[in-house]
Subunit: 127 residues, 2 copies
């Protein structure tokens, strides 16, 4: 009887909580966004330029988590010089873009500060 109401909510603690705990970690969504903007793949040092303020330690940790969770795959080429590590979005990672679009849509509606953000991708207006 209550089931109907709860089914309508389409959400619950277990699934949502686990996912939020993982995706909600600082930098995680922004890393995924950067990967998308890079056409699906980026190198380690490219993130450091894009994600202003991220430290190599945190970046390394997040990328490892994302790789473990299979949102990102890592491809290291140590044969050439210098070493190239390329991180690539998987399909599940790419589909996180829907969530990010949703977040941006919400922000534009309720929180927009910089109007340019609503129109196009402003690399200049990083915090």
């Amino acid at each position: 009887m209550l089931l109907g109401f709860f089914a309508d909510t389409m959400m619950n603690d277990c699934t949502v909580r686990r996912t939020v705990e993982f995706l909600g970690k600082k930098w995680t969504l922004l890393i995924l966004l950067e990967l998308h903007k890079g056409g699906g793949s980026r190198r380690f040092s490219e993130f450091r330029g894009c994600l202003d303020g991220i430290t190599p330690k945190v970046l390394s940790a997040r990328l490892s988590e994302l790789e473990k969770e299979e949102l990102v795959s890592k491809n290291m080429d140590s044969s050439s010089f210098p070493i190239k590590s390329v991180y690539t979005l998987t399909q599940s990672g790419e589909e996180v873009m829907d969530i990010i679009r949703n977040i941006k849509g919400w922000a534009i509606k309720w929180k927009l500060v910089n109007e340019a953000c609503a129109l196009y991708d402003c690399d200049e207006c990083e915090l």
Copy 2:
């Protein structure tokens, strides 16, 4: 010329980053979800039962932030005893449910552990 591509991405650092920094904080989305499940409003101690593991300090801090950002409004009745504080979702807060549904949809597709989560709201399967 590049503008077209970027516009298609429908997202950028400034808006997304600010919003993720705020909504992505630990417990924030879960608090909003609990409010929704409570029909749009909850009292302080009700959260403590629902959000297993949250401490009053963090709960208080998050609710203050949400109130400041106007996703939640607080209604305190200190005339009677015991004091009643009721927290209510605003319209912008309610619309965050779309984001949470999106997250749950993603999780069900890619990460589901407990199948019951996909069907209805399982209070029992909290971490």
